[in-house]
C-alpha cells in the first residue's frame, strides 16, 4: 500500500471498530463466569444484593472521576474528601441531635467545597491537577484528625443506616438505585447537555475550545466541584453502611476510581469518556474484591489484582489506539 493510500484509506471505507466498552465487558463476563462456576456462594441472591450495595460508593465516585478525567485532569483527593465529608456528617449529626438532612447536606457541601478549592487552584491558578489534588489529598486526610481527637464517631442516629442500607425500592437495595442514577445522570450530563460537550471539548483541545468562546475556566471548575460533590455523596453512603464515621474511610478510593474509569475505556488524556464503561469497570473491581473474599483472601490480594487490572486496562486501551 502506498503512503497516499494509507492516508486516504480511512475516509474511503470507515473501519468497523468495536465499542470502547467491549474490552471491559469481556473481562467482567469472564470474572463473573469464573467465580460463578467455582463458587456456588457467588450467585446467591444475598451475595448479589451485597455486590450491588458495595458497588454504589465506587460508582458514585467513579462518575465524578470520569468527568474530571474527561477534561484531561485527575483528582487523587477523592478518597481523603470521602473521609473528611463523612466526619463532617457525623459531627453535624451529633451536634444537631440527629438532624440527618442537615448532616447529609453538610457532607455534600464539604465535598463540593473541596472540589471548588481544587477547581479554583487548577483552572484559575493554572497549577497542575496532580499537584493540587495531591496537596488536598494530604490536607483533607490530615483535617479528618481535627474531629474528635482523631477518633471515629459511631453514635449516629440509626435512621441513617435504615434509610440507606436497609431500604429497598422495587425489591432492589436503594444504594443500587443511587449508584445507577448517578451513572445515568453523569451520562446525560456528558452526552445531552452543552456543559458536557464543552467538558469533552476542553479535554480534547484546550486552546481550540477557549478560542471557540467556551468559558473553559468555569467548565473546568465545575467538573472538579461535581467530582467533590459526588465524593460527599459517597461519604454519606460509606458512613451509612458502616454506621460510623471512621478517620480512614475512603482510603485508596482514588486508586479504585481511576482504575474503574480507565478500565472502562475513558482515555486518561481526556476528550473521550464513557460512563457505561465506567459502570462496567466499577462492577469488575467489585466482583474481583467480592470473589477474592469468597476465597477467604484478604483485601491485599484484591488490591494486587486491581493493580494488575489497571495495567491490563491501559494496555488494552493502547492496543485499541494503535489498531
Amino acid at each position: 500500500m502506498s503512503v497516499q493510500e494509507r492516508i486516504t484509506a480511512p475516509a474511503d471505507r470507515p473501519r468497523r471498530v468495536l465499542p470502547v466498552e467491549f474490552g471491559v465487558g469481556i473481562v467482567l463476563l469472564a470474572t463473573i463466569l469464573f467465580f460463578a462456576s467455582q463458587r456456588p456462594e457467588f450467585h446467591t441472591a444475598g451475595n448479589i444484593r451485597l455486590l450491588m450495595k458495595q458497588s454504589a460508593e465506587l460508582a458514585v465516585i467513579a462518575t465524578g472521576m470520569t468527568l474530571v478525567i474527561a477534561t484531561g485532569g485527575i483528582d487523587v483527593s477523592v478518597g481523603s474528601v470521602v473521609g473528611l465529608s463523612g466526619m463532617m456528617l457525623a459531627f453535624v449529626a451529633t451536634r444537631t441531635h440527629g438532624n440527618l438532612l442537615l448532616a447529609c447536606l453538610a457532607a455534600l457541601a464539604t465535598g463540593a467545597a473541596c472540589g471548588l478549592l481544587n477547581g479554583l487552584l487548577i483552572a484559575r491558578g493554572k497549577l497542575p491537577p496532580i499537584i493540587v489534588t495531591l496537596a488536598t489529598f494530604a490536607a483533607a486526610r490530615a483535617a479528618v484528625q481535627l474531629f474528635n481527637n482523631g477518633g471515629g464517631i459511631s453514635d449516629l442516629p440509626p435512621a441513617l443506616s435504615d434509610i440507606f442500607d436497609r431500604t429497598n425500592i422495587l425489591n432492589l437495595p436503594v444504594l443500587f438505585w443511587i449508584g445507577l442514577l448517578t451513572l445515568v445522570s453523569g451520562w446525560l450530563i456528558l452526552r445531552k447537555t452543552k456543559f458536557g460537550r464543552e467538558l469533552l471539548a476542553l479535554g480534547g483541545n484546550r486552546t481550540a475550545t477557549r478560542l471557540a468562546g467556551v468559558p473553559t475556566e468555569r467548565v473546568e471548575i465545575m467538573a472538579y466541584v461535581l467530582c467533590g460533590l459526588l465524593a460527599g455523596l459517597a461519604a454519606v453512603i460509606v458512613t451509612a453502611r458502616a454506621a460510623a464515621a471512621e478517620p480512614n474511610a475512603g482510603l485508596y478510593f482514588e486508586l479504585l476510581a481511576i482504575t474503574a474509569v480507565v478500565l472502562g475505556g475513558t482515555t486518561i488524556t481526556g476528550g473521550k469518556a464513557t460512563l457505561l464503561g465506567t459502570g462496567l469497570g466499577v462492577l469488575t473491581i467489585n466482583v474481583l474484591v467480592s470473589g477474592g473474599r469468597l476465597y477467604g483472601q484478604e483485601d491485599q490480594v484484591a488490591r494486587f489484582l486491581v493493580g494488575a487490572a489497571l495495567l491490563l486496562a491501559v494496555e488494552v486501551q493502547r492496543a485499541r489506539k494503535s489498531a
Binding site: 493554572k126 497549577l127 499537584i131 493540587v132 489529598f137 494530604a138 483535617a143 482523631g150 480507565v262 486518561i268
Partner: protein, 314 residues
C-alpha cells in the same frame, strides 16, 4: 543589553531552610540535642535519597508514584534474605537488585509499551506493595546484624545522602545523560528529533529512581531494626513534595537535584518542628499539603514572569 541577575531556583528553599534552622536552634532547646538531629538526619536521608531518584524522573518529564512500594519491596527482600541466613552484604545487595528490577519494570512499561507514567506507576504502586505483602504474609522481620545496622547509625544516613546526591548531581550536570534529561523534560518531541535516545534515557531514569528507593529502604530497615510490607506507606507524597519544594518543575525540564535534597531537608525540618511543638503526626499532612501548594504557586508565578520578560524582549 546587560544580563540581569537571575536568582537560582533553589534560593527560596535554601533561605527558608537556614532561617527555620536558626529559629528552631534558638527557640527550641530540644532541637539541638544530638538525638533529635540524628533522627532528623535519618528521616531527611530517606526522603532525600528518594527525592534524588524522583527528581531525575520528574526532570525527564515523568512521574514515579511507586517509590514507597519499591522501598517496602527492597527492605522486605533484604530482610527475608537475612532471615534465611544469607550474609548481610548479599541480602542487602539482593534487596537493591529487587528495587532496580522494579524500577526497570516501570521503565519497560513506559517505554516499550508506551503507557502513561502516572498510570503505570499507580498500578505498580499497588502491585509492588501488595505483592510484597502477599509474598511475606505481612511478616514482621528483624532484628538484623549490627554490622548492617551501622548503615543507619548516627550521621551515616546523612553521609550516604550526601554521597548519592553528589554522584547523581554530577551525573546530571557533567554527562550527556543529564543534558538529555532536561532536554526531554522541556520538549520530548524536539529532543527525540534532535537525536536524543529518549526511551533509553527514560529507562535509566526509572531504574535510578528504583535503586534510590531501594537504598532508602535499606536505611529505613537498619534504623528501625525491623521491617514489614506496610513500611513507608504514603512516602511518595513527601518525596514529590520535596522535589516540588526544591524547585523541580513538576512538568519536567527545570530544576536540580541539590534543590530536591534541600526540599527534602526543609520538609523533614518542618515535620520535626511540628513534632517538637507537640502536634500529632496525623495532622502533618495539612502542613505538607500547604507547602506543596505554596511551591506550586511560586513555580507558576516564576513561569508567568518568565513569559512576560520574554515577550518584552521580543
Amino acid at each position: 543589553m546587560t544580563r540581569r541577575f537571575k536568582p537560582p531556583r533553589e534560593l527560596p528553599t535554601l533561605a527558608l531552610l537556614v532561617i527555620a534552622c536558626a529559629v528552631l536552634a534558638v527557640k527550641v532547646p530540644a532541637f539541638r540535642t544530638s538525638y533529635n538531629l540524628t533522627t532528623l538526619g535519618k528521616d531527611a536521608a530517606i526522603i532525600g535519597i528518594m527525592a534524588c531518584g524522583e527528581g531525575i524522573v520528574i526532570l525527564s518529564g515523568g512521574l514515579d508514584l511507586s517509590i514507597a512500594s519499591i522501598l517496602a519491596l527492597s527492605s522486605c527482600v533484604a530482610a527475608g534474605g537475612m532471615a534465611a541466613g544469607w550474609p548481610w552484604p548479599v541480602a542487602a545487595l539482593v534487596g537493591l537488585l529487587a528495587a532496580g528490577t522494579a524500577g526497570m519494570v516501570n521503565g519497560a512499561f513506559i517505554t516499550y509499551r508506551r503507557l502513561p507514567p502516572i498510570l503505570t506507576t499507580l498500578a505498580t504502586l499497588l502491585l509492588f506493595r501488595y505483592g510484597t505483602s502477599i509474598a511475606t504474609h505481612a511478616h514482621n522481620y528483624g532484628p538484623f546484624p549490627d554490622a548492617f545496622n551501622l548503615l543507619a547509625r548516627d550521621w551515616n544516613p546523612l553521609l550516604i545522602l550526601l554521597g548519592v546526591g553528589l554522584v547523581l548531581t554530577l551525573l546530571t550536570v557533567l554527562t550527556p545523560f543529564g543534558r538529555w534529561l532536561t532536554a526531554m523534560g522541556g520538549n520530548e518531541q524536539a529532543a527525540l528529533l534532535s537525536g536524543v535516545p529518549t526511551d533509553r534515557v527514560k529507562r535509566v531514569a526509572y531504574l535510578l529512581s528504583g535503586l534510590c528507593a531501594g537504598l532508602a529502604g535499606l536505611i529505613a530497615m537498619a534504623y528501625n531494626n525491623n521491617t514489614q510490607s506496610n513500611v513507608a506507606t504514603g512516602y511518595e507524597l513527601s518525596v514529590i513534595a520535596a522535589c516540588v519544594v526544591g524547585g523541580v518543575a513538576i512538568t519536567g525540564g527545570e530544576g536540580t537535584l541539590p534543590g530536591a535534597v534541600l526540599g527534602a531537608l526543609l520538609i523533614e525540618l518542618v515535620q520535626d518542628a511540628l513534632i517538637l511543638t507537640g502536634r500529632p503526626p496525623e495532622q502533618h499532612g495539612l502542613f505538607t499539603g500547604g507547602v506543596v501548594l505554596a511551591a506550586a504557586v511560586l513555580e507558576r508565578w516564576r513561569k508567568v514572569r518568565q513569559n512576560r520578560t520574554a515577550r518584552v524582549q521580543a
